[in-house]
């Protein structure tokens, strides 16, 4: 069994309303030292496979098909054996 950790985040230059609103709130809450907030999403995926290489390729496909949109997202994949 393998574990894939995928982080999907917005590319630089793409607006992040969630980050923007969180920043605004933190400042209002008195955390005036906070300068920027970016949000991203992580998926931890347990999956079967024969090799790290094969699993990585499958995870790559999973990102392309479902989890990320190359136009606005970038993603990072880490694979480990369980």
């Amino acid at each position: 069994m393998f574990k894939g950790e995928i982080e999907v985040r917005l590319k630089e230059g793409v607006d992040d309303p969630e980050g923007k609103n969180t920043l605004k709130t933190l400042n209002l809450l008195g955390f005036s030292e906070v300068r920027a907030v970016c949000t991203s999403r992580k998926f931890e995926i347990l999956l079967e496979g024969r090799s790290m290489k094969e699993v990585r390729e499958r995870l790559e496909k999973i990102c392309q098909r479902l989890l990320a949109n190359p136009v606005i997202h970038e993603y990072e994949i880490k694979v480990s054996k369980q």
């Binding site: 309303p17 969630e18 609103n21 709130t25 809450l29």
Partner: protein
């Protein structure tokens, strides 16, 4: 107090979006209400009831209600606490419920903590739902409802599943102290699963009040069944209703609180 002297504060910020229909409900019943932006809210004197409407305060980013709750906490927490202590009613509908729970007003001090987690379905659920009045008389928002009476109040939320930190213990406390106000039921009045329990809430909980009964939080929207023509099946059943022509199931909540204010203050 006369109805014409009552003033209701409807607190809002960017993203609250059920405030107009809420105001309409009070207006129809002859009670004056005022929208107050959380930015401008400095004191509660002059108000006899605070309502936090549904919607997506601050986009519900981070977590439903989290941002609104922390803003209230920094801005007017003490005043609101005092307000509640004096016995004034406070109502949180949907997003408002999430906010009251986030702030710790529900289930209340010394009661353990609760949370409104994402629906089991994982998505937003906008549907007609039924709730049964479980309260034995403590809650000031349901005194116009009969015990075990079933009412239609639609739900519309993505995070409404009530989770208790210590489920067993807290649940029996809540029961013992008459803090359970509404449970989701099916048309036969049974505690059913999805979709009648739209979010997978523990023990079908849909609404809770505090120990004193003057703070109510509920996931369904009584302001969306204030009139009979807001019911999904009014064309089948007609507009005459037990309470009178075009009276919807949610109206009793507003009538109850108005009656409570007029008696108490």
């Amino acid at each position: 107090m006369k109805k014409s002297d009552m003033r209701v504060a409807i607190v809002r910020m960017e993203g609250t979006n059920c405030e107009q229909e809420l105001q309409d409900a009070f207006t129809v019943l002859g009670v004056d209400s005022k929208f107050v932006h959380i930015k401008q809210l400095k004191e509660l004197t002059g108000f006899h009831c605070v309502v936090i409407p549904g919607g997506f305060s601050a986009g519900d980013y981070v977590r439903a209600g989290a941002i609104f709750a922390s803003l209230i906490k920094t801005k007017i927490f003490k005043e609101l606490k005092e307000f509640i202590k004096e016995g004034y009613p406070v109502l949180g509908i949907c997003n408002g419920f999430q906010i009251l729970v986030e702030m710790g007003f529900l289930p209340g001090k010394g009661r353990g903590r609760a949370c409104l987690a994402p629906n089991d379905s994982g998505v937003y659920e906008c549907r007609p739902t039924l709730v049964r009045n479980e309260n034995r008389g403590k809650c000031v928002f349901t005194n116009k409802l009969k015990r075990k009476e079933i009412r239609m109040m639609p739900c519309a939320h993505a995070e409404g599943k009530i989770i208790l930190e210590e489920p067993k213990k807290m649940l029996s406390q809540l029961k013992a102290d008459d803090q359970i106000v509404f449970r989701w039921v099916d048309p036969d009045g049974k505690l059913a699963g999805y979709p009648w329990n739209p979010n997978g809430s523990l023990d079908n909980l849909a609404g809770l009040c505090n120990m004193e009964g003057n703070v109510l939080g509920l996931m369904p929207h009584p302001e969306r069944s204030f009139f009979r023509w807001q019911h999904v099946d009014w064309v089948r059943k007609g507009l005459s209703a037990p309470g009178g022509y075009n009276v919807g199931d949610g109206r009793a909540i507003f009538e109850s609180v108005i009656e409570c204010i007029s008696k108490k203050f």
